[in-house]
Amino acid sequence: MKITYYWLKDFVEIKISPRQLADKLTMAGIEVKGLEEKDGDFVLDIETTSNRPDLLSVYGIAREVAVITGKSFKEPKPPKIATAQNKTDFDIKINSPKDCPLYTAKIIRGVKIGPSPGWLKKRLELVGCRSINNVVDITNYILFTYGEPLHAFDFDRISSEGIFVRRARRGERLMTIDAGECLLDEDMLVIADNNRILALAGIIGGKESEVSGDTKNILLEAAIFAPVLIRRARQKLGIETNSSYRFERGIDSETVQKASACACALILELASGKMTLKKETGLLKTRPRSILTEVASAEKILGSHILPKETIKILNRLGLKTKRASKKMLRLTIPPYRNDLFTQIDIVEELARIHGYDAIPNTLPKITPQPPSLQKRDLVSLTKQTLVALGLNEVITYSLISRSLWGMFSEGQDVSVIEVENPLSSEQEILRPSLIPSLVKCVAHNYNQRQQYVYLFEIAHVFSQKEGNLREELQLAIALSGSRAIFLEDMVVKDTAGLLHLKGIIETLCARLGVERYEFVNRNHNQIIDICISGEGAGSLYQIPRRILNYFDIKNRQVIVAQLSLDRLFAGAVLTKQFFALPKFPAITRDISFILKEEIPVQELLAALKEQGGSLLAAVTITDYYRGKQIPAGYRGITVSCVYRAGERTLREEEVNPIDATLRALLEKRFQAKMR
């Protein structure tokens, strides 16, 4: 909201510069967002908070300036307006006083519509309001001055019998002054006569009864409408006006008459004419509200001491009447325009605000430390650190994605997604059930930026529903793609990301988290490897299908992904460490080199070796593998290293030799391996 320095001076003496005034207002909670010198005045751009509708006017801000600066507020005298002979018989019917507690109308006859005088035009233009004609400008000027929205109708366009303030009927329409045609319903309040709807109450007037160059007689409306009705209609129709903004926040009933009288007087002065009718419907019962508050309440909440004398002085300046109720208690009477003060804490805030937040000291509270316990968050942190150490970059992507993006990835997945009721765009239609689509998008984005290899992970919540139950769980997803150069001592080798890289990452992660019971299970040869932890499915590794890569324009490259439920992973985590004594006796290692048919999986082979090897065989690992020149097509060369160890003695060669022989025999017979 914009107001000007000299406009404020109409109501309060200001002895400080515009800049100092802006600072003082800001530090009293009335934030001045901008200050600009313009046409010999200073425009203050003010942001008020939703609890203070009384500040939505020059008058209201001036009242606050008086409080802050300690100057007195200049309440203007109400203008005296003679009512010409009351010839007009005009009826105002309010269907529900709840919807419209007060409606005042003044009929002014014989006005001359014309341009506004320079001073009026200038003030309106300074606050960003276009000058239209004298009558319309005056209603706007009074709105900015007092915060009470007024509306002027062309009286000759209204049925002379009277008007109704009523709910619209579903399907009724109104052509507005400048917001096009509106389709109305019964949640909206309108001003209507017998024939048609004249205005959307409190929001915008109708085109037909608009004041124009030919207008001779006007009806000036000043009213109060129910804030919630205005709010709902405004939201439904998407029309926000200076008027709706104020009605939605609440109007001080005392300014209604004041504003109406000032506007009327100004119209008579600038557009001539005579007031021929003054009518008010609805009576406001205003009983001043009172609050009982402890004198010392501020100190308890703020931690700074404000003398009782000072307390009372501040409250009086704010327009509150104070009376000692007891030694410790004050009874406060709240002025009608402060509709935000109800309880003691509201009073404490006012004291803090005017006394100054700067006057409150900085102290440090005593905090009782909680015994630290290992939380999910710590495991997430450990997981992230491990992945980063393995060369993966963490990404953060949007939890909301489009239905079409998910559609590409959801093939064959039995997942019911959660939909957003009010997305702003198709990019926010659903809550993602998997992080993979977003990661693939990230890979594509980075390829567009000419990256050669992209190693990414994200940890975030994923969402799905089953039989009406919403599920939200933490997922880890990894995407690897492209090739990187690995520098060795005598050469550089190209390393292209594949499923085994991903397997290695997950194995390292499991090792770091102390997850022991996990395995990779090949699912029906379709390139999906399931990760099982403690026997339960926890996630999978797979290659993104070519049709999806084509969509993202990823050519000649594979994208390998993994998704893993962190709840499942963490359930298997053991971070407590147990030391095992280092072996005292030397081990004997026997390597077996052989060639193996491609289609024979090594997983089974290793398991069989372990079983056959018995208790002396401590470990079997693959230490070399090779495909190429010396190996026949359809085979691969493999070396396994078998480490033998006896617990409490030195193992002898003679003990190992027969086991080694049985292992070789096993490889030859069961796995058709050929020794090299």
Partner: protein
């Protein structure tokens, strides 16, 4: 092997003696125990007696010539710089180092970690909450009426659900206040990082998803001065000891008194303050010439919130604060477009 052809050979070899290694090989070839000179000397007894003296002279002459060549070459080589070591012999430290490249944590994660650790050092504990929330936890319990202008600051994504109670994507991390207070008793000192969602049109400073950190403390005798003290420790830890702070009165439905907290502009330090607001010209682009940067919202927890969770507001008081992580990170790192955080360009991520 005649002395003449050996001389010719030596003449050819002399030009190649450009390194110590070559010179050493040269020396060995001719002067070593089984070198050419000793072979020649060894062949003397097999010569005819009359030839022996003359041949011996020739060999001695040859030997002294070789020694002279070596002595001279040693001088010239000593004057030269040491040569690059032969491949395999030494290390060329100009070659790329060999290491596993590490990845980076996202700058938002790094900022969250930094901020939470400051509060954890002060004794706060970290709690997280779900992103799908009830209307009650997100609004009603926090003293935000459903049909009121105070809700306009909290436009919210609702989700389609058959559940009786409307569900939404939390628009701030404050619902975790309600969750924690409903399940635990004071004293509480809690910090809550997490994702939040608001249907805002996307531009350089707005997104429909971002991160917040919420902090709150509840006990007997907690005062606004404690809030000021705690936040001062935080702001100085993140932005430096030199920064100034100010607490401005504001309105939030869930706190009273409420304050917005500004720090002095980290770019211009508010130096141009006296005249910038009134001149259109050279305004600091970070603070808009105001000299202050808003970093968070805070206040004393509203008694109505305590009533909602069943705490006695006459017994307990508390403070709460909340801040946008992206904003803090943008100020800290000098990033001017919030969308960069979610594009995840590796050239961006690798800078942190």
């Amino acid at each position: 092997m005649d002395i003449y052809s050996i001389r010719t050979q030596i003449e050819l070899e002399v030009n190649q003696l450009n390194s110590r290694e070559a010179l050493e090989a040269f020396r060995n070839k001719y002067l070593a125990r089984k070198g050419i000179i000793s072979q020649l000397t060894g062949s003397i007894p097999s010569l005819a007696v009359e030839e022996r003296a003359a041949f011996g002279k020739e060999v001695n002459l040859l030997k002294s010539q070789i020694l002279a060549i070596i002595a001279e070459k040693e001088k010239t080589l000593a004057a030269e710089k040491p040569s690059t070591p032969a491949p395999g012999g030494g290390i060329d430290i100009g070659m790329p180092g060999i290491a596993q490249e590490i990845g980076r944590l996202h700058p938002i994660t790094q900022t969250i970690d930094e901020i939470t650790s400051i509060f954890v050092q002060m004794g706060f504990s970290v709690v997280e909450g779900p992103e799908i929330e009830t209307e009650y936890n997100n609004f009603t319990g926090l003293n935000i009426p459903l049909d009121h202008p105070s809700r306009d600051a909290f436009d919210t994504f609702y989700i389609k659900s058959p559940a009786k109670n409307r569900l939404l994507l939390r628009s701030h991390t404050s619902p975790v206040q309600i969750r924690v207070m409903k399940s635990r008793r004071p004293p509480l000192a809690i910090i809550v990082p997490g994702r939040v969602y608001r249907p805002d049109a996307v531009d350089a400073s707005h997104l429909f998803m971002f991160h917040q950190i919420e902090g709150f403390m509840v006990d007997e005798g907690i005062r606004f001065s404690d809030l000021k003290g705690v936040l001062e420790v935080f702001a100085k830890a993140v932005f430096g000891k030199e920064i100034k702070m100010r607490f401005r009165p504001h309105f939030f439905p869930f706190t009273e008194p409420s304050a917005e907290v500004d720090i002095s502009c980290i770019i211009c330090q508010g130096r141009q303050l006296s005249d910038v607001l009134t001149s259109q010209g050279k305004r600091c682009s970070v603070c808009g010439g105001k000299g202050w940067l808003e970093i968070l919202g805070s206040g004393m927890i509203h008694p109505n919130v305590f009533k909602h969770v069943g705490y006695d507001p006459t017994k307990y008081t508390g403070f709460a604060f909340g801040m946008g992580i992206e904003r803090i990170a943008m100020l800290k790192y000098g990033i001017s477009d919030i969308r960069l955080f979610f594009e995840n360009d590796l050239r961006f991520l690798r800078q942190f």
